[in-house]
Amino acid sequence: MRSSAANSTSWLDSAESGTDQLSDTYAGNTRWLNAPKNTFQPSGAFFEASSATASTAPRPIDSRRRAPLTEAAPGLQPTPNSPRGQIAVLGEWNGCVLDIDQSSSYFTASLKGVLGEGIEGEEEDALIPVSDVSDWDLELLKPGNFFRLSVIHEIQSSGQPRRYTQVVFRRLPAYRQQDLDVAGERARQRSRALRVE
């Protein structure tokens, strides 16, 4: 069984595609989403909710990432009336893997900002720990493959806020032979039309 992380991941994706699961509440550059039910995750010093990695079990926190994941985003501090069980996407980028470090501890990626204050439309190169990629997605960690990087602020059903980064690889459709045949034919036609000396 997938953890709720996987649920929330797929739910985010469907929200992205405009299904009615999206509670279209925008506050500035923050997009609030109604979290699916039963999203409680253990949090604390040694385990993090696996929504960041979509693995099937809580993963030990990397020492680099033990920093305060529960720190509230400015302007998003929980109040008695805070929308419990909701998550907000504070920043989001479409990414493409460029290279994987020889030690396999980091990968470099080209990012284009999709959502967030100062982020939208900006192009960045990023160095991302491979440990941020879920076991589920590791087979997709190859140059040329696409993923989405998000910074998410969540107010859990307990009222406890937490913030985390999430890397989710995109499973794109496969090349079809008929499309490749058309591409090949187009290249043949062009090659015949071009005059090369």
């Binding site: 470099t108 900002g113 039309a193 071009l194 005059r195 090369v196 000396e197």
Partner: protein, 362 residues
């Protein structure tokens, strides 16, 4: 910077201007008599309109690219050399397009077309630009000139291409065949990391001076490839030593070749480096050791941009902290940008000017 360019050179004045990095690297050359050559393209990322820098420059000094540009060279297909190149080709209908025989090859064309399937998601800037260039040239029915070792593409001044060797071009096409998408594989962005040896090295010989534009050429232990192949062919065909060098491959160690410096250049030439503008700062050439090495070999050395860290994107504190906590580091693709302009009346001496973040090292 763009308001301080001054006027175009006089008809008997030669000019070489090197741009970079912003996004990419490019060179424009005034060949004399109002004729211009453009090698590759790059973008000043601080320009909100993202025009190709060579076009912006030529228009800025009062040159009309549609009339004055006689040659456009695509040195190789890396994204940092072709971004904006299709706009240049479009804006210069009178120009002869020169590239390696790789780009118009049917196998490469099939690869480019295949990677354009589902193009909204997967085509990188280089695929998009090369595809657009080929479409423009197909519609115009204009002739593409194939660069090959020792080929003369202009008689006055004498412009010659020195690469790629057939061996390197064929190796690249074999690699392309291996990387060609296959049915059932997921859509992806092309990732070809081996094209530098297919880049086009140019020499330009005026009556009193010669220049060497090194593109991204690298050394290779195989004598049939890279700088080894070029230097041995140059000795065979005859070579006028150059007093000006656009340093190959962003000044990196892999672009350095002792024989190139010894056989193809005068002692202590003027050297211009366009630094690489992508990726983590510590991996970008030239490193300080590269700058020292080139400086020791050069009479004067210019960088088109100081290796300043690009401006950081202004994100919210929460996002910045989350990325830091996750050990995710960002480097903006808005690299520093500048240009080095060198002009000479009769080839006996050059005057050099720096614009933007360009700097003189020596």
């Amino acid at each position: 910077m763009w308001n301080e360019l001054g006027s175009s050179p006089s008809s008997d004045e030669f000019e070489i201007t090197v741009f970079g990095p912003g996004y990419g690297e490019s060179v424009v050359v005034h060949l004399g008599d109002g004729k211009w050559l453009i090698v590759d393209s790059c973008i000043d990322t601080s320009d909100p309109q993202r025009q190709p820098a060579p076009l912006q420059y030529l228009r800025g000094i009062g040159v009309r690219p549609e009339l004055a540009v006689k040659f456009v060279v695509a040195s190789h297909w890396d994204d940092d050399h072709v971004r904006g190149l299709s706009e240049i080709v479009k804006a210069a209908p009178a120009a002869r397009f020169i590239c390696s025989h790789v780009l118009p090859d049917e196998k490469f064309g099939s690869f480019v077309e295949a990677l354009s399937i589902g193009s909204a998601a997967t085509d990188g800037g280089n695929v998009r630009n090369i595809r657009q260039i080929l479409e423009i040239l197909e519609q115009r029915r204009s002739v593409i000139w194939k660069a090959s070792p020792g080929r003369t593409i202009c008689a006055s001044p004498v412009i010659r291409t020195w690469s790629p060797s057939d061996y390197d071009a064929n190796e690249f096409l074999l690699y392309v065949a291996q990387m060609h998408p296959r049915a059932g594989e997921p859509l992806r962005r092309p990732s070809l990391g081996t094209s530098n040896l297919t880049s086009i090295v140019l020499s330009i010989d005026w009556p009193k001076c010669s220049v060497l534009l090194g593109a991204d050429m690298e050394r290779h232990p195989d004598a049939r490839r890279g700088w080894q192949a070029i230097t041995s062919l140059a000795q065979e065909l005859g070579w006028t030593k150059a007093s000006y060098l656009k340093v190959p491959h962003h000044g990196s160690d892999t672009g350095h070749d002792d024989a190139m410096w010894r056989e193809l250049l005068e002692r202590e030439p003027t050297s211009v480096v366009a630094p690489f503008g992508r990726g983590p700062r510590h991996k970008r050439p030239p490193k300080s050791s590269d700058v020292r090495r080139i400086s020791e070999l050069s009479g004067s050395l210019y960088l088109t941009a100081r290796q300043l860290d690009p401006p950081k994107t202004r994100m919210s504190v929460a996002v910045t902290r989350s990325l830091r906590d996750g050990a995710i580091s960002f480097v903006s693709q808005k690299s520093p940008f500048g240009m080095v302009r060198s002009r000479s009346k009769d080839g006996s001496g050059w005057t050099h000017e720096t614009f933007g973040l360009a700097t003189r090292v020596k």
